[in-house]
Amino acid sequence: MTSAADPKPPQTERFRRETPLALLATRGGLILAIFFVLMFGALSSPMFLTSGNLLNVLTNMSIIGIIVVGMTFVLVVGGLADLSVPATIACGAILSLALQPMLGTVPAFVLAITLAGLCGLVSGVLVGYVGINPIIATLGVGTIVLGIVQSAVGGVIVYGTNPATADFVKGRIFGIPVLVLIFAVVAVAGHLVLSRSYWGRWTMATGGNPIAAEASAIPVRAVRAGAFVLTGLCGGLSGALLGLTLQSARPLVGVGYEFSAITAVVVGGISISGGSGSVPRAIIGLLFVQLLTNVMVLNSVRTPDQGFVLGLLIAAAVALDMALRRRGIA
């Protein structure tokens, strides 16, 4: 590759990603930050360190966490972000409740998730095979899907008809909430796929250097598309669980979840440029964001202000990543 035609010498950065400094800043720093939030929470509010509150945090975290697993794949594969998450959540929530009387609970659940996966497939094909910018593609597909789901139920709020399902989802097995168990299963599966399987290695390679990956006979397009299918499925699952828990689903039920998920992944130290990252790191990021949000809620910080903090966190985390990377090269 030393011929004159070689167009991109700066690509060497790919080989020096995991500098010790970056590792320290992303992993150690974050765990320190979590301790800091825990301490601040415990000092500022007597409610914070109660088991009820922490269990609440964990349950909330599970719904978003399922999406975070999918979003991790999207970022690692170099797909920037999936903005169709609110649509796939709405798809999961609305359809799993609306189809319940017709199909029964479990088939409705499965069908809703499958359809959400199908939305992911459409985004995936647009991004992977047609080569459209992921943010534009998922923004467009999300708008379309949300519109279709709304018109399918006539644009109204859907209510559940089978309270037994809500009891199951909100219930516990061996003292652990079912939602948390489901999240744990998804997270472990996602982690194993990303770190131990061919598909995971292909995902890393595609995100790191698509041209090299293609030269190594990796099905780059399919791998890219796969990340979006996975996020669609995760969004659908998360939405269906959310719908069953609340026993009602508004069309805009999933708005904001995409940012929470992206924030968690980025704060977890996973580069927006792709090629590196792991599910546990994203979940540590999620833990930090969730604890921070919880502390803000307990200290009665209003929701919009929390949005401001989230926005700042995304910008700061990405800027830090870019700065560390440049230092790593120089």
């Binding site: 379309i144 919009p304 926005g311």
Partner: protein, 319 residues
Amino acid sequence: MLWSLERIVRYRVLVILAVTLIVAAFVVPGFLRLSTLALGLDRGASIGLIAIGMTVLLIARQIDLSVGSIFGLCGIIAVMLQSSLGVWPAAAVGVLAGAVLGAINGLLTVVLRINSLVATLATMLAFRAIAHWLTESQPVPGADIMLSIALSKVYLEMFTLRAMLFVGLILCLHAWLTWTVAGRNLFAVGSNPEAATASGISPDRTVLLSFIFAGALAGLAGVLQSLTTNTGSPMFGSEILVVIIAAVVVGGTRIEGGKGSALGTLGGVLTITALTTAMEFQSIPAYVQQVVMGSILILLVVLDRTIRPGAHAQAAPAT
């Protein structure tokens, strides 16, 4: 071949606009009456002003997802300052605030080297949060209700003040893009930043100025919207993004940068406006309209990727 596929793709905005107008004229009785058109143009002006800034950014290979939030926030600022500063100074501060917010986007992109998609995703969230924070999530009423009536006055049976501003600005943009050195530099930066640097253009400066320009125009649109409705609301502009990107892309500007025209954007805005107006006259629910807008956006972006007039040498890998 005079009417090759390439030619149709290049002048597609005329084709799409003509088809939309013809269909709308058949479906909606009285659509081509001047009063209906004036109404449509007035509403399109809001989208159009933002689309002007977005055109410039897309040509420079950047994007601003936060324009909707800037739109809402600047309107709020202009309305809230009315009682202390007076109407027009407050409006000026609103536009200026738009420029500052645009500068923040630009600095994040240029100085911190954050991909503009991600940077503006974050600021979209942050600016919207500021809007909610300033207003405590309630709409804010303006001081002078007569002003909104004056602003809605239709001149020459066709143009409101907003609409005139939009058409005037887009003609200026056309002139700027086609006949000035700075305009041509913009295309150079968008199509090949390295080559632009080599020929003595500073891409960073161009990009930063583009962001400021886009922010100021989104601010201007927001201020005018708030003055016309005599309200500042933190919800203004929350669903405007897809429509704007669709309008610009219909006009032939490419998401991938380096290509686009002001007159194309004018056509795109007119098309989208005609479509929205026609659908509203048919009382088609908002969510179906969303499906239509989203489909148009996706369809045209796919078209851009698959049919490429003037054959680019090589497709850039999707980032």
